[in-house]
Symmetry: C2
Subunit: 127 residues, 2 copies
C-alpha cells in the first residue's frame, strides 16, 4: 500500500454533554462514520472514564479514527486518518461533528507519508 | 480533566522492515513507550495486515498512541497524544523511533484542546 494519507485533526466545541459521556452512542457513531466514509473496520476499542469522559479508536484498513471526550467542557478531540486517496476523512469527521452536536469546529489537515510534513489547511467553522 | 493536550505526529523513515512487520514487537514497544512516558494504559488493540503492515493503538488515561507501519517502504506513521502537562509525548515518540531503527524522523507537535489550532514546532532529524 502507498504511504500517502490524509490526517484530519478536529476540535469540537459546544457538543452535547450527555452524548459525550455516552460510550455506546460514541462507539456506534464512530463505527457508522467509518462505514459512511467507505472504510473497512478492523478493530474497535472504547473506554469509559469515571466520573466522565470517553476515549476510543476504530482501526480501519485505511488507518484510524479516535476520540477523547470531555463532557464537562463540551469538548471532543477527534482524529480521522485515512491512507490512500479512495476515502475522504472529512466525510467521517463531518458525520461525527454533527452527531455530537458540535457548535464550533476547528479543523486541521496534515498530509502523512509524503516526506516533509506540512499543514494543508486550517479552518474554523461555526456549525 | 483539563482539555489541554500535546499531540506529537511523527513520520519515521528508514526503519527496520522486519520490526515494522512484527506485530508482537510493535505492540510490546508501544506498551513500553507508554509506560516509560509515565502513562496509564487502558486498552491495547493491534492488527496485522496481509501481506504486510501493522496498525495499532494504545489508549492511555492521558489519550493515545497509534502506529501504521509500511514495512515495504521502511515507513511508520506514529502519533503520541497526551493530555495534561504531566507527561511528555516526546519521551514515548523517542523510544518508539529508536526501537524501530528509524534513520530519519519528522516531527510535528499540535497543541490540542486549547482553542485555535496552531502548529507548535516542526523538525526533521537524522537519527
Amino acid at each position: 500500500m502507498d504511504t500517502m494519507g490524509r490526517h484530519v485533526i478536529a476540535e469540537l466545541w459546544g457538543c452535547d454533554s450527555e452524548k459525550l459521556n455516552d460510550m455506546k452512542f460514541i462507539e456506534e457513531t464512530f463505527v457508522d462514520a467509518a462505514l459512511k466514509a467507505g472504510a473497512e473496520i478492523r478493530e474497535v476499542a472504547f473506554h469509559k472514564f469515571a466520573p466522565h469522559g470517553v476515549s476510543g479508536v476504530v482501526i480501519i484498513s485505511e488507518s484510524h479514527l479516535t476520540i477523547h471526550s470531555f463532557p464537562e467542557h463540551g469538548y471532543a478531540s477527534i482524529d480521522v486518518y485515512t491512507c490512500g486517496d479512495r476515502i475522504d476523512p472529512n466525510v467521517a469527521a463531518d458525520y461525527i461533528s454533527e452527531a455530537l452536536g458540535a457548535k464550533k469546529r476547528e479543523n486541521l489537515e496534515v498530509p502523512r507519508g509524503m516526506g516533509p510534513i506540512s499543514v494543508a489547511k486550517s479552518k474554523v467553522t461555526a456549525q
